[in-house]
Symmetry: D2
Subunit: 337 residues, 4 copies
Amino acid sequence: MRLGMIGLGRMGSNMVRRLMQAGHECVVFDRSDEAVQAMVEAGAIGAASLDELAAKLPQPRAVWLMVPAAGVDAALGDLAPRLAPGDTLIDGGNSYYVDDVRRAKELEARGLHYIDVGTSGGVFGLERGYCQMIGGEPGPVKRLEPIFAALAPPMASSPRTPGREGKGGTAERGYLHCGGAGAGHFVKMVHNGIEYGLMAAYAEGLSILRHANAGKKAGVIDAETTPLRDPELYSYDFDLADIAEVWRRGSVISSWLLDLTARELLEQPDLAGFAGRVSDSGEGRWTVKAAIDESVPTPVLSAALHQRFSSRGEADFADKLLSAMRHAFGGHLERKE
Amino acid sequence: MRLGMIGLGRMGSNMVRRLMQAGHECVVFDRSDEAVQAMVEAGAIGAASLDELAAKLPQPRAVWLMVPAAGVDAALGDLAPRLAPGDTLIDGGNSYYVDDVRRAKELEARGLHYIDVGTSGGVFGLERGYCQMIGGEPGPVKRLEPIFAALAPPMASSPRTPGREGKGGTAERGYLHCGGAGAGHFVKMVHNGIEYGLMAAYAEGLSILRHANAGKKAGVIDAETTPLRDPELYSYDFDLADIAEVWRRGSVISSWLLDLTARELLEQPDLAGFAGRVSDSGEGRWTVKAAIDESVPTPVLSAALHQRFSSRGEADFADKLLSAMRHAFGGHLERKE
Amino acid sequence: MRLGMIGLGRMGSNMVRRLMQAGHECVVFDRSDEAVQAMVEAGAIGAASLDELAAKLPQPRAVWLMVPAAGVDAALGDLAPRLAPGDTLIDGGNSYYVDDVRRAKELEARGLHYIDVGTSGGVFGLERGYCQMIGGEPGPVKRLEPIFAALAPPMASSPRTPGREGKGGTAERGYLHCGGAGAGHFVKMVHNGIEYGLMAAYAEGLSILRHANAGKKAGVIDAETTPLRDPELYSYDFDLADIAEVWRRGSVISSWLLDLTARELLEQPDLAGFAGRVSDSGEGRWTVKAAIDESVPTPVLSAALHQRFSSRGEADFADKLLSAMRHAFGGHLERKE
Amino acid sequence: MRLGMIGLGRMGSNMVRRLMQAGHECVVFDRSDEAVQAMVEAGAIGAASLDELAAKLPQPRAVWLMVPAAGVDAALGDLAPRLAPGDTLIDGGNSYYVDDVRRAKELEARGLHYIDVGTSGGVFGLERGYCQMIGGEPGPVKRLEPIFAALAPPMASSPRTPGREGKGGTAERGYLHCGGAGAGHFVKMVHNGIEYGLMAAYAEGLSILRHANAGKKAGVIDAETTPLRDPELYSYDFDLADIAEVWRRGSVISSWLLDLTARELLEQPDLAGFAGRVSDSGEGRWTVKAAIDESVPTPVLSAALHQRFSSRGEADFADKLLSAMRHAFGGHLERKE
């Protein structure tokens, strides 16, 4: 089928490529003429304006937005007046599901459908396919299934779950209609929240291995430092790249994140190219807020989030306060370095 | 080669089977004659006593212990006098690495070698192979490579890490000599610590999805309960089995643990067969203690461990104290259920 | 001065009493005639309706609301039409500061002033005085200082902070104008967030002491339980009431919460009267959400909040998932009790 | 009575002063002659050697050690041969209770008594008195009560806990015999663990207040930063010194630590004199390890400990790993500063 695509960054352009490989036609638009031109050369139908994009799409139209979350409302505002009742808008970015709920209502008043699609797969999506979590009305979602199916990874990319044979549905084909407006981004939000926890688990564990030679370092002995009681028990020099690699085969903790970790540690065992200031991009925060609203305990996901804040120096004032208190009651002075 | 195996529980007997499939000979012993008999029928060489086991092994002998951690010292004590200098003992169970360090010293005094092997793979090891993390002296470890190779998963079980071609080593063959005595169980310990974190991340995230319909429940409105400000934002009824399934394909959080989770949720969507009293088997505790000794922050792994304690009701006294304090300063009474 | 008070629950009626003790006049209203009558007997001026309350107050009026947070908007809606420009409304309850910001704007459009006052002191406030954190426009706050001063604890209730002599301000008199609309409840919100952390710290520590005899209990020895390595190190039977008491004198952790804890433990050493289902009343949640918005790491306050959720069984589904995963990869069965 | 004191640092010398003020005699020794001389000038009986100290004490002797934890075993080794059966040694420092258990056994073999005393009070102890948690045999503890009573704060330093009248015991006099060998330091260990949690709770909460103006800062808008949804809700400039001060009077979170915090914030509102590298001195670590041994959930105390590690840069490698993973799956580059 023919789909409009707005936003030709890395994600948007790769999706267009994957769709065209599956035989779909894409009418593409981007604020950058160059980006449009590049996709035209790859086989897409270019549009120099939103009007042209609307004109080149058959009704009922389907337009996929792949723009930064902060730009979605503006894009919808520009696009909606150019569409007709029955057309469908798809937000494939990282919107907060709360915005989806609002947008679906606003667009419904114009007779437009709104679908929110959380996608996972990152820079590997073109090759591996995109896992898609979808929210919105059943009719428009159903109509767009060929698009979702083309973007999704092949079913054979993972072995079949035993007992799945009779269940049907699209989950094992890599896309899922999760529920009404916002459901797709809600599930994607939690997906990312889980991602924070998984990443932190690997990072903390590997850090313990990295420092397993703590006993070999001549410890500074002063009143402000706790000496190791049994330094000989911490005299291992582990090869982290090898350890991550061996865990990839047969262990309980094998995963795609571990695959990537093994690759990074192989390339750069001491990770000297990174400063360790870890960004967080919204979903982790929203996940924890949702947990709080629901009264669901999430000590692990929360700890992962707060450690990201700490990594960026955001704990500095609190840490200074601790030093100030220690100074006040015990006369303790901070150790330098 | 010919290997002695002591302990024919699920793990030990499966290992014997996998070794024999690869052409190795196993002399097997267990306190249960039945267990020995079953393996003899499967092709193993039975031993009715430790003396017989020792007699049936060529020197230098190699004996693999697959007994509960609490029984290893006793087994070593029984076995050592029956061995000769140059023989090697392998502990393939879940020993604390601190014990390995001690045992290696004790056995060295008798001229015996001690190898600690942390294995991961669980009940799937027979079929998938066992990931093996190995500690001990280089010589004996080298000599036993055919055994480790036979137990390990095939290299092709995971795609090759880009850039690995030139590096050599055995990591991508599923087993790794990690360092001296205790190194194998140290790495396995941290492996399990990571496992706790990964499991908790999935469990917490899926629990948020499970309770995403919190807004649909008629909330009890009293002074002790915080009402949801926007209940309509929590009106999703998610199918967790489908969501776990869709994440298995193409998403950043795909993993073997997720594969298993998808299977469990398919079989039993509400998990009613479980009480939620989660055991912890030692390695998670030791991991956090090692982190503390090394001053390595592990907020996520720690939170996962403490939540396991909580799941078993161990927080009860602390929780009662909180209620008591709230009663004291605010006159708050606990809500019943 | 003369103040209107709406809401004569425990907090409201005690405040009226404290104000009258200081020589102020209170015009009181409550949905319950009985409650009004009781305060009239204590010396207050009763009002049978909001109209009567408004009529009995001199302009510019000042009316203090001491009603449940969920009822404040309704109360403001009833009251505002009966007031005149220049009058001031005070919300002394536990409102979310976000609501204060909105209300102040709405009331400003009618020429009314809105002051938010977070109060701490609980059931002891009548006797000890109420710590007050105040938000709103400077003029009305200034005008109401005699009220705040009367409700506040005496300056001598705590020894003077060294160096405070020259600083001025009202902080050491027990009330503080913290900033514009919402500032009072923002500070109170964080106050309660801190309270959650403090309470959890005591509760966890005392729980460690409570279980310091773990080594004396005949441990169940099975594969699902980690035995204590050195049980003789955990053979203390501590008297928690005595320990809390001794900490009250001279220790770094003495506090008012500890005073209350010592009292509760004295009355009921095993706390058998409590079930351990700990409520959370909103401020703790809002505190953590504010921290997330600000990117401020709050691992401790978050952990305290999530443990409260856990205490009420909200972790059950996640815990069951952990058991399900353990069953899947390791064949582990849950221990019963 | 007459007591020997070894170790005349700040703690030891202040204790000698407080004891002498109460009429006790102290025979003092320190490796520094100057330190001895200073105490002699203050009224103590100097000893130039351990032999002299032993000679100047009547039997059964009582010698209090106030030396760094790392030096206690050496000091006991030097001292024990100079003592006679029935004499008592007191360790008043911050020993690990595990060492107490061992030492008590070793000294018992020589007929010597060993008492462990955890003391809290810091640099204020001379003036306020020392809270003392005591472990050891009942007889020697009983005999030393006059010493403990002199060091303790006066009973009137805190108001009596209601209902305490009939209970008896010494807890409300500021010292407590908690149990056998190690009990004193066990309770002190947990005391410090609680202290970590309390301190973190205040520090985190005040940090939220400190950053409550986050909405006023021109945010960097890029794909790696989550913008505030409602920046106007974070536009407060709070005076932390005033807020800490107001909380000191009448609030639920008043405490001695808050008193000190108010003082520090008054002197140095931005805490610029501190770097925020927070030491941890052993007890916090041991507390969490004890909790793990006992299976007692301590999410809050653990989070406080791990944040201290983080404050010293110990999370760096884990943080770099997170950045590496994000780079690997999403092509994310770290933001510079």
